[in-house]
Amino acid sequence: MKDEEAAAPVAPARSSSRVDEARRRLLRSAALGGVVLCASLLTLLDHRAVEAAPRLRPPGALDEEDFLAACIKCGQCVQVCPVDAIRLSDLDQGIGNGVPYIAARAQACDFSCDATQCVLACPTGALSHLIDAKEQSRMGVARLAAPDACLARKGEGFKGLARGGAFKGHLRYSDIDRWKPQPVASHPYDLATCDLCVRHCPIKDAIELVPVSSDPQDRRRTPVVKDACVGCGVCEMMCPAEPAAIRVDVRVKGRDPGGPKA
């Protein structure tokens, strides 16, 4: 704006100075409008950049593009989650600013709430209200991303805390308390063969340990993910390998229970 002021005549006639001021005011307004518009379009551009590494969305989330359109960014899903698995994205996510996600390695959705509370809390249906059971969600699919790191595949057991004493994540240990998720760090294990991913999977028949060979002496097992997997990320959270041997591949399409346009 300084250029404009410098360009203004030194002692203009009264009426022409008023015209100049009006014109400058209009220019300034257009400039401001342009800047704000560009800022909002930048969030779209930013979105393209973060698309490469999509984030895990809460259960029932519509397909990514629809989800981003339908979420009103209020965080009511965050508030009802009993394990605080859901967080809100920030402005670094561009148009995804304020949209919920789950960082499964830090805190997976273990369906402690049983009835997909986040879906019930969502006022807009961005988390589809067509879902009323955990088995219906399609957040992603688990995959043994680093087979060589998997303890079961090495035939090893596991003794100690799954994620160490400093880990803040919670999990439902039904035998301890069905309603109060317990800190994972309060629960030591002593397993002959590591089966943490299978043991804590909240979905029936989503994952199983399969012997690597037909030799009965061979203790090596490999986790096999099945069609029932919803991608909640509990296996990823509980995997004692660092980084996790099993990880969730985020689904961005085909997760809408009502089909492409519910």
């Binding site: 005011r25 307004s29 409008g33 800022a39 969030t43 593009e65 994205s89 402005l91 807009t124």
Partner: protein, 340 residues
């Protein structure tokens, strides 16, 4: 008489949508207003007003009563959002974009519009939420949201104080903009939401960003808010609220029938213009200029946020809060009763 009321409402609406305030012709004024104006223009009365202004300036004490009450309201509402989550108070859950208040859906007018245009669905919960909110603001006064609830308004007021200090020291100056930009922004972002399929305004709206930062700790967005505040300090006073933010428009429309408003009493006015100097939307106070009032008592138009800074600023009590139906008799109230 009711046609007078309708004309006034339409004029207020036009004012909100960017039409410049106009000086009325004597024919536009009521008999009482004409008489009052003639009296005010008499040399004796002019002299009396001048003396009154001088003596009042000598003992000027700036009141901040309403600002303090209003800030308490901003803190209370936003505090309820935060406490509802952090200490599980569960009274007001969500953010200012959408929430559940005691279990009832509330939704912001502009956020809901953006979302439904982008998503191309009529979301019934949002319709319910918006209706509830509109009904509330239709009673307590349209843009009351802006000055009594919005957390950005609070920060913007602080920025404004700094801005005015710097202006006083001649370090910066206020670059006035065209307030019709706000209307353009409203439509541009509505079209953009529909065309792009994303509620783009929501990503950069400081209202949502601040509301979420308070409750959920998403603080990266505060950089954007900081930039806006900086622009308000060094470049243009109250830039976002005055010229860009479309959120207030929806609330303004909701408040067109609101019984809670600020009332201007021309008989008490000395026409110093102190109210216009503190006002966020000074065009609504143009009626306080000598010869601009169409009636002796006039309620301030729909673009008014009821922030009451003008009440604090007015040394003569010409501006007061007024609730239709509760106030004692006045010319305008009679008009209102006949009209509705």
């Amino acid at each position: 008489m009711s046609s007078r009321l309708i004309t006034r409402k339409l004029r207020d609406l036009a004012l909100m949508f960017g039409v410049a305030p106009q000086k009325p012709t004597p024919a536009d004024m009521t008999e009482e207003a004409r008489e009052l104006l003639a009296f005010k223009k008499s040399p004796d009365e002019r002299k009396r007003r001048k003396a009154a202004i001088e003596s009042e300036r000598a003992e000027a004490v700036q009141s901040h009563k309403w600002r303090m009450i209003r800030w308490a309201s901003i803190f209370a509402v936003n505090g309820l959002f935060v406490a509802s989550y952090w200490i599980d108070l569960q009274l007001v859950e969500g953010a200012l974009t959408a929430s559940r208040v005691l279990g009832f859906h509330f939704a912001d007018v502009n956020s809901s519009l953006q979302l439904m245009l982008a998503h191309k669905h009529v979301v019934i919960n949002l319709v319910i939420g918006v209706t509830t909110v509109v009904l509330i603001y239709a009673v307590i006064g349209g843009r009351t949201f802006c000055s009594w609830v919005c957390p950005y308004h609070f920060l913007s007021e602080l920025a404004e104080m700094v801005h005015l200090k710097l202006v006083g020291k001649k370090l910066v100056r206020d670059h006035e903009l065209d307030r019709r930009l706000r209307i353009v922004m409203f439509f541009v972002f509505a079209v953009l939401a529909f065309v792009s399929g994303y509620p783009l305004f929501e990503a950069i709206s400081p209202v949502g960003i601040l509301s979420r930062a308070l409750t959920y700790g998403t603080i990266i967005g505060l950089i954007w808010v900081g930039l806006l505040l900086l622009a308000e300090i060094v470049w243009s006073r109250r830039l976002w609220c005055r010229y860009v933010c479309p959120v207030g428009l929806g609330y303004g429309l909701a408040g067109i029938v609101a019984p809670v408003r600020i009332k201007y009493d021309a008989t008490k006015c000395l026409h110093e213009g102190k109210c216009r100097q503190v006002c966020l939307v000074p065009h609504v106070l143009d009626i306080t200029k000598l010869g601009f009032a169409r009636d002796v008592e006039t309620p301030i138009g729909v673009d008014c946020t009821r922030c009451a800074m003008c009440i604090d600023a007015c040394p003569t009590g010409a501006l007061t809060f007024d609730i239709v139906g509760l106030a004692r008799s006045g010319a305008d109230e009679k008009l209102e009763e006949e009209g509705t």
